[in-house]
């Protein structure tokens, strides 16, 4: 009899606890969205299907969106999100785009007619210009979201990949080429073919 009472009491306590878990979780969601947003690349490109990085972060926090919808973040970004959320890594969902090397927009200034449409499209204020004046991209501020490309009526915006400079160059992972073995292997392959 005592045992039954104890079990019943335990069940009641757990029930009460469970009642308040969703409340606690709702509070956490905003914090979690912040944390997710901090990991997103902030290109504000909308390729994930949400109108910016913050809305996507909120959707992930709510469980509405998956973690593999951000092409600019790429594999690295998905790894970081998986680690934060304690989920399994998934490859990037190609419906949302493919991972590309970082590029910045470039306006062909001879063709630009000064319509200001790209300025309105740029989410990070990286384009300067005025009505009927030539526009230009502030390259160090451009996140490469490509949102300015479709609105341009004269197709004068192109995406140029960012070249590595001496200041941004990275040391390679130390790898040893096993040259002789590889060449003999290919040589025998060629011979047999």
């Amino acid at each position: 009899m005592n045992a039954i009472l104890i079990m019943a009491l335990g069940a009641a306590l757990l029930g009460v606890a469970l009642r308040y878990v969703p409340v606690k979780r709702k509070v956490d969601e905003a914090v979690l969205a912040e944390q997710i947003d901090a990991l997103l690349p902030q290109t504000q490109c909308g390729q994930c299907g949400y109108p910016g990085c913050k809305p996507y972060a909120t959707a992930i926090a709510k469980g509405e969106a998956d973690i593999n919808q951000c092409p600019p973040g790429g594999t690295d970004g998905i790894h970081k999100l998986a680690e934060l959320l304690g989920r399994k890594f998934k490859p990037l969902n190609t419906e949302h785009g493919v991972e590309k090397p970082k590029a910045v927009a470039f306006i062909d200034e001879a063709v630009c007619i000064g319509c200001t449409l790209c300025i309105q499209a740029c989410p990070v204020d990286a384009i300067v210009g005025a009505a009927k004046q030539m526009h230009t991209i502030i390259a160090p501020l451009c996140t490469g979201c490509e949102l300015c490309v479709p609105p341009c009526p004269v197709d004068c915006i192109s995406m140029l990949p960012v070249a590595v400079s001496v200041d941004t160059w990275k040391w390679q992972y130390p790898v040893f080429e096993i040259k002789p073995a590889a060449t003999t292997a290919t040589a025998t392959k060629q011979q047999s073919a």
Binding site: D37, L40, P41, Q42, T43, Q44, G52, C53, P123, V124, D125, A126, L141, T143, V164, S165, V166, D167, T168, W169, K170, W171, Q172, Y173, P174, F176
Partner: protein
């Protein structure tokens, strides 16, 4: 009284091979050969950041003329190292392991070596800030926070050239000790240092003797030449400070925060040249050694290709690469055409026999030899395993950035693991991530500001329309009492405005008219008024 030295843990003692390049005196490049067809002076600083060119293709330059300055106050200027014609300002390969190009000024020498007018600088009258700016403009690398913290307890002069084969500071002190001492005196006065310690390794007795003699001649007080025990890497500024003063400066702090500052002897000499002789930095002493017949020190104009330097010392036939720096910390250059820059203290010709390619890496057995050899008190084997597994956060927890890349761990590793390569990889990867994060944070800020601005503009527009509507509403309150929407109010306001305008217009040509004519006009006006008022009552027909 012999000085008490402090010790650091670890360090290694490889064979120093220094005698090879000290048998010949320092030679001026121009005394051995004529200048090559072009000198290439990079508009890029060693510590990152680029310079703005002051010349363009076709400009005639004099030796010592400034050709590049920083975009802000921190960039150290570069100068033409000979007189001649600027051939181009274009991308050239940098003396950097990446083999990437950066903007360079290419000068075709005219062989006349015409100097700019050289005037000594009165640093006593100018004061600290002006002296710092002068040295920056004279191209001397003294650091942006030069003298920023006021008085110094100890000024350390680094003559401890601990890396094997390098002898440029040794030879400089042997042959030009007086200039170095004068440079040190200037530094001491400008930085208000109460004590100067000149640290020289005890395997360079000639340099120690020369410096002591020069010191005795100049009679500087509280200045001491300290013969520190030879051990690689004592030549590292942080470690030399530790050996001489016992102060351990952490990676994240400046020397000056601890009342010490450290300058190389070559910097002291460059300061002497800049201030006492009025010569900006246009050349430097470079040790050429390794797989060459006549290793020696050459005073090379900046911008000379490494190939030209090696050619003066007779490179041997099996030379297959060029290393800038010493055998421990040097980096293989992408080619032998890259120029001498301000930080080039040594050029080594490499050959498979002299510097054999690293044997295949074996697994780490965690023997701990690297930890015993590490002068920065790190655990290299842990750092290695984290860097290898790309666990960069962990590597930082183990103080990866305290690593000075001296190569002692690689030198002692029984498994022949290129440990420093892993640390460099991890460091550059972490720095790249930090850059990306800063960029993303800045982008987020701009995006949020943009959203805020869009919202504000919308509100401002609505407020503007509302006030306009309200203003229009007030004078026609009676007429438009029944008008329910703002559009109607706006129309009413426009009508009212038009009427007001019309009333204000007084014909300017009635002054000269007779009273009869005026009366007639008044009559017509009254008729028009009546018509207008009847028209005003008409609109209800529309409804």
């Amino acid at each position: 009284m012999p000085r008490q030295f402090f010790k650091f843990n670890g360090g290694v003692m490889p064979a120093d091979h220094k005698a090879a390049s000290t048998s010949l005196p320092i030679a001026e490049f121009a005394a051995l050969a004529s200048l090559p067809g072009e000198l290439v002076i990079p508009l890029q600083q060693g510590n990152g950041g680029s310079l703005r060119a002051l010349v363009e293709a076709g400009t005639q330059v004099l030796k010592g003329q400034r050709i590049g300055v920083g975009y802000d106050d921190t960039g150290t200027a570069v100068h033409a190292s000979t007189s001649g014609l600027v051939k181009a300002v274009e991308m050239r390969r940098m003396p950097h392991p990446s083999g990437l190009s950066a903007l360079c000024v290419v000068i075709a020498p005219d062989g006349e070596e015409r100097w700019i007018t050289r005037t000594p600088f009165d640093y006593r009258r100018a004061g600290l800030a002006a002296t710092r700016d002068y040295l920056r403009d004279a191209g001397v690398l003294v650091g942006g926070d030069f003298g920023a913290t006021g008085q110094l307890a100890t000024l350390v002069i680094n003559g401890a050239e601990s890396e094997p084969r390098i002898t440029c500071d040794d030879m400089l002190m042997r042959e030009r000790a007086d200039g170095v001492i004068q440079g040190i005196a200037i530094l001491r006065e400008v930085l208000r240092a109460s004590e100067v310690l000149i640290g020289i390794e005890d395997n360079q007795p000639e340099a120690i003797a020369a410096m002591r003699a020069a010191l005795a001649k100049r009679g500087a007080e509280n200045t001491q030449v300290a013969a520190v025990p030879a051990c690689y890497p004592t030549g590292n500024a942080r470690l030399l400070i530790r050996v001489l003063t016992g102060i351990e400066v952490p990676h994240s702090r400046r020397f000056a925060d601890y009342g010490v500052e450290c300058f190389d002897t070559s910097t002291a000499y460059a300061i002497y040249q800049a201030i006492t002789l009025g010569q900006p930095m246009v050349s430097r002493i470079v040790t050429v050694a390794g797989n060459v017949e006549r290793p020696r020190n050459i005073e090379a104009p900046l911008g000379v290709p490494l190939r030209a330097l090696l050619a003066l010392c007779g490179p041997q036939a099996d030379t297959n690469r060029v290393i800038m720096g010493g055998p421990m910390m040097g980096m293989t250059m992408p080619g032998d055409e890259v120029p001498v820059v301000k930080t080039t203290h040594c050029v080594l010709a490499g050959s498979p026999a002299l510097f054999p390619p690293p044997p295949p890496e074996m697994p780490c057995i965690r023997c701990g030899d690297c930890a015993r050899a590490c002068p920065a008190d790190l655990q290299p084997f842990e750092l290695y395993s984290f860097a290898r597994a790309r666990q960069f956060g962990k590597a930082q927890e183990y103080h990866l950035f305290d690593c000075i890349e001296c190569g002692c761990c690689t030198y002692v590793c029984p498994s022949k693991i290129p440990l420093v390569d892993y640390y460099r990889f991890a460091k550059s990867e972490i720095l790249a991530r930090q850059r990306d994060q800063e960029f993303a944070d800045a982008a987020r800020e701009r995006y949020q500001f943009r959203l805020l601005r869009a919202e504000r503009e919308k509100q401002e527009k609505a407020a503007r329309l509302a006030t306009k509507a309200a203003a229009a509403h007030a004078p026609t309150a009676e007429d438009a009492k029944d008008a329910k929407d703002t559009k109607k109010a706006l129309i009413a306001a426009a009508i009212a405005r038009a009427r007001q305008q019309k009333e204000q217009v007084t014909p300017a040509n009635i002054d000269a008219l007779t009273p009869e004519q005026r009366a007639e006009i008044a009559k017509i006006e009254a008729r028009r008024e009546a018509l207008q008022s009847s028209a005003k009552t008409a609109p209800p027909q529309d409804e």
